[in-house]
Amino acid sequence: MSTRTIQGQKNLQDIRQASKDGIGGSPLRPDGTLKVKGEFAYSSDMWHEDMLWGMALRSPHPRANILSVDISEALKLPGVYAVLTHDDIPGSKFYGLEIQDQPALAIDKVRYHGEAIAIVAADHPETARRAVKKIKVEYEVLTPIVTEEQCLDPEVHGYVHEPHEFKSHGYGNICHSQKLVHGGGVTDEIRALADVIVKSDYEVGMQDQAFLGPESGLAVPAEDGGIDLYVATQWLHVDRQQMAPVLGLPEEKVRLTLAGVGGAFGGREDLSMQIHASLLAQRTGKPVKIVYARDESFFGHVHRHPARMTYEHGATRDGKLVFADARIVLDGGAYASASPAVVGNAASLGHGPYNIPNVRMEAIALYSNNPSCGAMRGFGAVQAAFAYESQMDKLAAELGMDPVELRQLNAMSEGDSMPTGQVIDSPAPVAELLQRVKDMPLPPPLDLENIDVRTLPGALSNTSHGEGIVRGIGYSVGIKNVGFSEGFDDYSTARVRLEVIGGEPVAMVHTAMAEVGQGGVTVHAQIARTELGVEQVTIHPANTEVGSAGSTSASRQTYMTGGAVKLAAEAVKQAVIEKGRRRYGWTQTDLTLAGGKVVSESQGALIPLVDLLGDEAIDLTREHHHRPTVPFDKETGQGFGHVQYTFCANRAVVDVDVELGLVKVVELTAAQDVGKALNPLSVIGQIQGGCTQALGLAVMEEIIVRDGKVRNASFTDYLIPTILDTPPIPVDILELPDPNAPYGLRGVGEAPTVSATPCIVAAIRQATGKALNRIPVRPEHITGTL
């Protein structure tokens, strides 16, 4: 290596270090300043002169025939501009993410409590509220179909959707089913190979995404007869795809722009107010804003599927798993939403990150008259993880083994096969992640003599001074897929433009990615800086003027849209270099961009971008497709169905007041392999946030549904963790690159929500000795007074 080369490299390193805000750094959010100033425009902040307020009339019954709807009194109210029912819909009356089974406004019957029947536009939200109350609906109330037994016996209890209504249905009230058989399956002969067998039933309640920013947006009628919609969503293009046929418009006349999103977590994958506001804007010719109240938000989006599960595991005396058998029943509620994909995940990920030679699984999603369920962080992997991790603890207890050692003994690693037959072809450090959480220092032991009572279970209520407190520790690990699976051509589009503005080279990144708080906008700027060697990057507002980015879900956006930004930026880089070659005849093969210059890796800077670009902008668009997958075989569940896997391990330390049944999580530790932390600050934020939603599911979060009716549609009654309920969450990040992913990264957001719930329950079990097979764990489960 010549001296010159070394100098050149040093020069290059210096230039690159100037761009510390590239990948691997933690630059601050580009929208952070606006957000702390209160100037960031969320969807509910949209405002238009002369705008109207939209509101929906919602069904008080989970199942009823609609005999008549009388809107005449509502229309007479001063200030009311329109009252619409399904009769007023200009196009298709149905929509849906996977199956178009959901009416935009109820037709002749309602299938869940809170289903929209009519919509109103008025000059003030209170006028709209009063108008909604004046709509008279005559119902024939029917007994709702709400239990698994009722759903599976439609001849007696009826159909949620009549069999002739949708061809895509399975049979009866089953929306989707997936079986899986691996090895020899589970037979009497295989059971006989096990020295120890544990079997239990588990139940998971209905969790809500409970994002803080309510569903909202502004629909503005355009002069060309189209609609401009400013909305909080997770996927602009799929919203448009579902909206346009209902509005009777070609897709190009339905233009969506992302308004500020106050969290999503899967709850914005389905449409909420998009069609309603647009229909009202079409009818009135005025801009229409809809902002859900909190109770309407609980009715207006899908939730996490509640589940009933049966799991059986067999192992040899030395702890090697022999077989696993499971049945998972997910209640999908009235409409399909994402249920088919959730079922696919539950079945394929439902035996966890373990090597099990013989496996059987059946997962189904039911149609019922309960609230619709669909996407929520962890997407079908969460419910199963509670069951299989509970089983691991139970098995360890039966075998007299340490629960972490039992998990490590059976942990899958790179080169092993999933029960689907798919070989894991990138790092899978399951045993190592468990070891990492185990090795992290424990919090100091409980010291009742010197404790601040505010830190005890029950916290500020001053309910005890620690008399009945017992401490417990639990462990867990989980697996989650990244990206859309089972043959879905999941892609994203990015447009990158490089030009000189104000004497500086500036990159612009334009995608349709929904920034929902996860930090994609920060990472896109980091990628553009890294690839183009410039400091200044602007992020174009996300809209449908550029190609689809796919959904901000499935932990996929940094992988997919980040990957697209990388491809587009690389293309711009090559175009810039080519331009220089043409002009200056450069022959070096080691050219790149760094520090605002074209640089030779061996010779250092050649020319500033400002001089090379002049007045010309280089503007290129690229799509990023991940490697293809295939649908799982319906009967055997076999197939290369997932793009990438991600793993997280946790340890929980809890204090339980066994007299009062109250739990305080003292510490929740996480270790996760992220492949490459593009922005470590954001990665840690995602993991801590994901762990906290898992904590919520473990001990407090549940939509209570009785006879199909939602009983707690408010933040008073649906409890999400406060800062007092949430402990310190130390995070240990592992970075083992995935050779198939951009920069080697792994999706981050969901894995902790999959894995962290079971360890909290395990810790409560250790403290109390109770079986605790249902989550959320309630005080009465701990005190035994149920």
Binding site: T33, A41, W47, F715, T716, I723
Partner: protein, 161 residues
């Protein structure tokens, strides 16, 4: 009815206010101060917290008529007249405590009030003071970091003055 009050030091008035309107609605929809957020409108989440005559309140629970002649300070008022961020605002950005940011305005006002009363609160004091502000994204760890950072900067600033 007409309601007149002071918002962030400036006199404002709102006409044709319906008796049932909240201060939150008047700020967001009539006065052009949408910084206070409408997450639950039931006093449970703290996203709409503002100062009313110097005391933090949930503006969704205050009837518009109640603020007649009084002083309101919102998140927009934490920024100084030159547009410079307040100490608490800057700390939330620096600590990575802002994700979706919907809870942020309420948390900023509540934290500002906490540090006004006690510039060096313990972790338990912070948790107690912010327990009325829900955040769904962060897991609160970085919010704790932000408050500690703001506290340290506030103490350092006081020491240097």
């Amino acid at each position: 009815m007409r309601v007149t009050f002071t918002a962030n030091g400036k006199p404002v008035e709102a006409d044709d206010v319906w008796e049932g309107e909240s201060l939150l609605y008047v700020l967001r929809e009539r006065v052009g101060l949408p910084g206070s957020k409408n997450a639950c409108e039931q006093g449970e989440c703290g996203s709409c917290t503002v100062y009313l005559d110097g005391t933090p309140v949930c503006s969704c629970l205050v009837a518009a008529g109640q603020v007649q002649g009084r002083e309101v300070r919102t998140v927009e008022g934490l920024t100084d007249e030159n547009g410079e961020l307040g100490l608490v605002q800057q700390a939330f950005i620096d600590a990575g405590a802002v994700q979706c940011g919907f809870c942020t305005p309420g948390l900023l006002v509540q934290t500002d009030a906490l540090l006004d009363n006690d510039a060096q609160p313990s972790d338990t004091d912070i948790r107690e003071a912010l327990s009325g502000n829900l955040c769904r994204c962060t897991g609160y760890e970085k919010i704790m970091d932000a408050v500690r950072l703001a506290s340290a900067r506030k103490c350092a600033k006081a020491a240097s003055e």
